[in-house]
């Protein structure tokens, strides 16, 4: 994966990622400020009394701030930074307080009056809402700017997140009880439609806190984590909202209405920031997936090709083995041509039969799919067929073999044993029928039997043959001979496990 992809997948952190967004945020900030300044002279004009503006504004703030708070807390779980925990709490507080605002604001739900509380409740709610949010946001930005390494212990992360949610919920509930039950004990904030000096003073104080948070965001915290850069923009929109509201001076003034709009914009900034992150992560994920698929396909093609090459080379080698065995056979044949002694000729014939056995094993191997294992049954059938062709007329040779997958290490010694035993049997006087059986036994074992119907042979055929005895030992087998209406030679063998 290219380095740029890796950076964007690994959740938008690091000073390297802050350069381009910083210019964008500052440009947006400039435009927003200019728009606010342009609107300021008209703020005091009375606007239409659109009561629906409050439910719409509350719904926007509630949804975006709660969603943003959740997303910030998810990032807190990943980074364990106190600054993000505080920011998450600030967003949740802002979202939940919007509900209280809806319930206390006259005309928001019921015409002409509020759902809950006294006339002063709406103003106090607004002030607490603004103050709580400004305070928590300032704390978050200060933590990010001055103590970026301040983190929660890994084991405490989940508990801190839950505590933050619980505390915010408690705080909102407390505010609700205060403005509904105890509002009469609080000093008045509104005189008719206009603010009292206390209201204006506290609002100014909150605006100073917001302004401080903006400066810290843009100057310090935003350099480390772009989320605080965008928070600077969100807080600026909030500041503009308050300035316009202040300049409007009364409810339903143009400035007051535009202020609510600006607050809704403020609440949406971080949410849009997270949407942008989500988009980039999805794109990076899709790219990474495509790259991965490409690599898997390329590697598979390489391996398939390598496997094909290996097969080609092996087949070439086996082909040469066959050719060389044919040359060996030709040499023996040439050597045997001038010989007339019957015993010597028989020796040459036996030699050529063994060469044929080796060749047959390689032929079977070349037909197999994996070039390692092949079925013993057709191999034994071919060997016996060749001996049958050379046998005296009137002698039948039968073979019955179970299918067992074997490799050359097993097949060649076994093939030589079978060739030897059958050749001996058919050479005897008075033998009319020879039967070869290779049966799979319980477990990884097999039993080879070669039996004939000839008269009992003088001496011990198998034991007297060094080749048979040696190869049987090589295969880890045991030979047994019984004589009942012929000779029956049985060899018990372990079958090596085919991979």
């Amino acid at each position: 994966m290219p380095a740029a992809d890796a950076a964007s997948v690994e959740t938008m952190a690091g000073p390297a990622a802050a350069g381009a967004p910083r210019r964008l945020v500052l440009a947006l900030l400039g435009l927003y400020g200019a728009a606010a300044l342009a609107a300021l002279p008209f703020a005091a004009r009375p606007g239409p009394e659109v009561t629906a503006i409050t439910p719409l504004f509350v719904a926007t703030v509630l949804i975006t701030e709660v969603a943003t708070g959740f997303l910030v807390l998810v990032r807190f779980e990943a980074t364990r930074r106190w600054s993000l925990l505080l920011l998450g709490a600030a967003c949740l507080f802002a979202g939940l307080m919007a509900v209280l605002h809806l319930l206390t604001f006259p005309g928001a739900i019921l015409p002409g009056r509020s759902m809950l509380g006294m006339p002063q409740a709406a103003a106090w709610t607004f002030l607490l809402w603004m103050g709580g949010y400004a305070g928590l946001a300032l704390a978050a930005v200060a933590a990010a700017a001055f103590a970026p390494g301040w983190r929660v212990a890994p084991a405490q992360v989940r508990r801190h997140g839950l505590w933050a949610v619980a505390l915010v919920a408690g705080l909102v509930l407390g505010c609700g009880l205060l403005v509904t039950g105890r509002v009469a004990a609080l000093p008045p904030l509104m005189l008719g439609q206009a603010w009292t000096p206390l209201n204006a003073g506290m609002t100014y104080g909150e605006m100073v806190a917001v302004a401080a948070a903006i400066l810290l965001s843009l100057a310090g915290a935003g350099r480390r984590d772009p989320i605080f850069l965008w928070l600077g923009l969100a807080l600026s929109a909030l500041l503009v909202a308050n300035l316009l509201s202040l300049a409007g001076g009364a409810r339903y003034s143009l400035g007051w209405s535009l202020g609510r709009l600006s607050w809704a914009v403020s609440a949406s900034v971080l949410f849009l920031f997270f949407m942008g992150q989500f988009l980039r992560q999805q794109q990076a994920l899709a790219r990474a997936k495509a790259t991965l698929e490409e690599r898997v396909a390329a590697r598979t093609a390489e391996l398939t090709q390598a496997l094909g090459q290996r097969d080609l080379l092996l087949r070439e080698v086996y082909h040469r083995v066959e050719n060389n065995l044919q040359i060996v056979d030709s040499l023996i044949h040439a050597e045997a041509r001038p010989v007339t002694d019957p015993a010597a000729l028989e020796g040459f014939a036996r030699l050529r039969q063994r060469v044929f056995t080796l060749g047959q094993a390689h032929q079977q191997l070349m037909r197999s799919a994996d070039l390692r294992y092949f079925d013993i049954a057709p191999f034994l059938e071919e060997l016996v067929a060749e001996i049958r062709r050379a046998a005296l007329p009137g002698c039948t040779v039968e073979v019955l073999a179970d299918p067992v997958a074997v490799d050359l290490d097993f097949a060649i010694p076994l093939g030589l044993i079978v060739t030897e035993l059958v050749a001996q049997a058919v050479r005897q006087e008075g033998v009319g029928r020879v039967a070869v059986a290779f049966r799979r036994e319980a477990g990884d074992a097999a039993r080879l039997t070669v039996s004939d119907d000839g008269p009992a042979a003088p001496g011990d055929l198998a034991a007297g043959n060094r080749l048979i005895a040696g190869l049987t030992r090589q295969l880890g087998g045991r030979i047994g001979i019984t004589r009942e209406g012929g000779t029956r030679i049985g060899i018990d063998l372990p079958i090596p496990e085919a991979a």
């Binding site: 082909h319 050719n323 056979d329 030709s330 070349m366 060749e386």
Partner: protein
């Protein structure tokens, strides 16, 4: 036994194996009319000698293989072709199959194998 069409052409690029085949064919009582080592040689000799049977090695020196030579001989001379190959791999067997060979034998071959095939073909 009829030898009217001129005997057996051996196509084999390995001298020792060719010698063996010549001996085997002669032991069968047949006449070897020639030994070719390349596909081009085999085609030319088959046209001029008009053999009854051809033993054809699959891999030959120079350009073209046994199948190329056999297809040509089959078309121009009509001789029966016995393939003798060291390779039993499916690809080679399939390629030989395109020529409708009279018989296919796999190396190392034995006298008895050759005798049975020749006897069957000459019946």
């Amino acid at each position: 036994m009829t030898r009217s069409t001129g005997g057996v052409l051996i196509v084999e690029d390995e001298f020792l194996i060719a010698e063996l085949l010549v001996a085997m064919v002669e032991d069968l009582g047949l006449h070897v009319c020639g030994v070719a080592a390349t596909a081009a040689e085999a085609m030319a000799m088959a046209v001029s000698l008009r053999p009854e049977l051809v033993t054809m090695d699959m891999r030959l020196r120079g350009e073209g293989d046994g199948v190329d030579a056999a297809l040509h001989i089959h078309a121009h001379v009509g001789a029966r072709v016995i393939f003798i190959t060291g390779s039993r791999e499916p690809d080679t067997v399939a390629r030989i199959g395109t020529d409708h060979p009279a018989a296919v034998l796999f190396k190392p071959i034995t006298f008895e194998q050759l005798r049975q095939v020749v006897t069957r073909l000459r019946q």
